[in-house]
Amino acid sequence: MAARSTTIIEARGVVMSFGQTPALRGASLAVRQGEIVAVMGPSGSGKSTLLHCLAGILTPDEGEVWFAGQRLDTMSEAKRSEVRRDKFGFVFQSGQLVPELTAEENVALPLLLGGTRRAAALAEARAWFGRLGLDGLGRRRSGELSGGQAQRVALARGMVNGPQVLFADEPTGALDSMSGEMVMSLMTRAAREQGSTVILVTHDARVAAYADREVIVRDGTVGSLTGAAPPSGAAR
């Protein structure tokens, strides 16, 4: 587990609009190395936009995004793609596996795109199947997997390159509660073992409860819910 004292990724006063519609109005969030942070908020509050800005997928109109001491928002697109491929992992709501590829090829994809040789990439991918309870499913295609299995394959793909930051956008949104719990338990355990930071966007409090802390996005700004000590006996 990496030391948690240092900020690994940070948004500073990020402003972002889509046409005339403002999504973020000066959002700031600093996340430490190895920390698991849940970003909560009502629909349309801007939480997914914040995640996309932090991940370098969207470029903010104003403000700054920092990753490991470097400005991410002012990097060239080529350099940002490299950071996304080598330093970040992603898990989305619907898995978004490549349907033409087998499950193990999907998991190996970030390594293959990063230049790892095919045999080595597949061997590394296969190691994740046992770890995530997916033994025997490596040769299946996404259409032959249940929703929970597909999401665990997507999790393996997000973690296979040992990302410094894993971005998870409603990773259990399409799953039943049992499958969702399994994905969250595996995700947080794997992230803690690898020392990966996780930024988890969710509207589900039971999912957010796997995080170290929660922040809430309202009207395009970030507020903290941490620090308020629970009154004794108030919460069951």
């Binding site: 355990r189 409090a205 039971r206 957010a208 409860a209 308020a228 919460a235």
Partner: protein, 174 residues
């Protein structure tokens, strides 16, 4: 949790000594809050007095004398009735939340801050219960789930109420 009825239920399995009942109670229902011996024997005495259980003769052994307790037909009927009746849905916490929000609005205090603090407290407790699930056994998991689902229901109410505070403020000031 009704201690007398739970002990009666354990007695329905087989006649038992107080020591065995305490051990089984702590194993299955105690979850970090063991039942004091004094409460076990006081409860068994009351159950015997009320005709729900009967005490056998004192048994002499190496330690202090012990009595074996057995459930009666009246005790079995109590257990059966208890198990067949649904538990009260416990609306108490929500009543407290509701009263605080309404009062805060009546007094022109920041009800949204109160709801935020309550949301944080609930999420804090949910994190604790989730951590318990991650390191605990199946019993811990099921008990934690019970708490988590209740807290989640409260949180949904908090979110819905927070979204309707303006309307509620108008209503309480009419």
């Amino acid at each position: 949790m009704s201690v007398p009825l739970t002990l009666l239920g354990l007695l329905e399995r087989e006649p038992s000594h107080g020591y065995d009942l305490k051990r089984d109670y702590d194993t299955w229902f105690g979850r970090g809050k063991p039942l004091p011996y004094g409460q076990v024997y006081a409860t068994l005495s009351r159950l015997a007095r009320d005709g729900k259980a009967i005490a056998g003769p004192a048994e002499h052994g190496e330690g202090p004398d012990r009595k074996r307790y057995a459930i009666t037909e009246a005790g079995i009927a109590d257990v059966e009735r208890w198990l067949s009746e649904p538990a009260p849905p416990e609306p108490h916490l929500q009543t407290v939340l509701f009263a605080k929000v309404v009062l805060a609005l009546m007094l022109d205090r920041p009800a949204d801050h109160y709801l935020d603090a309550q949301r944080a407290a609930h999420l804090h407790r949910m994190r604790e219960l989730t951590a318990l699930k991650e390191r605990g056994d199946l019993m811990d998991t099921l008990l934690a789930d019970h708490g988590l689902y209740h807290l989640e229901a409260d949180l949904r109410w908090i979110d819905h109420t927070a979204a309707r505070l303006d309307l509620l403020a108008q209503a309480v000031h009419q």
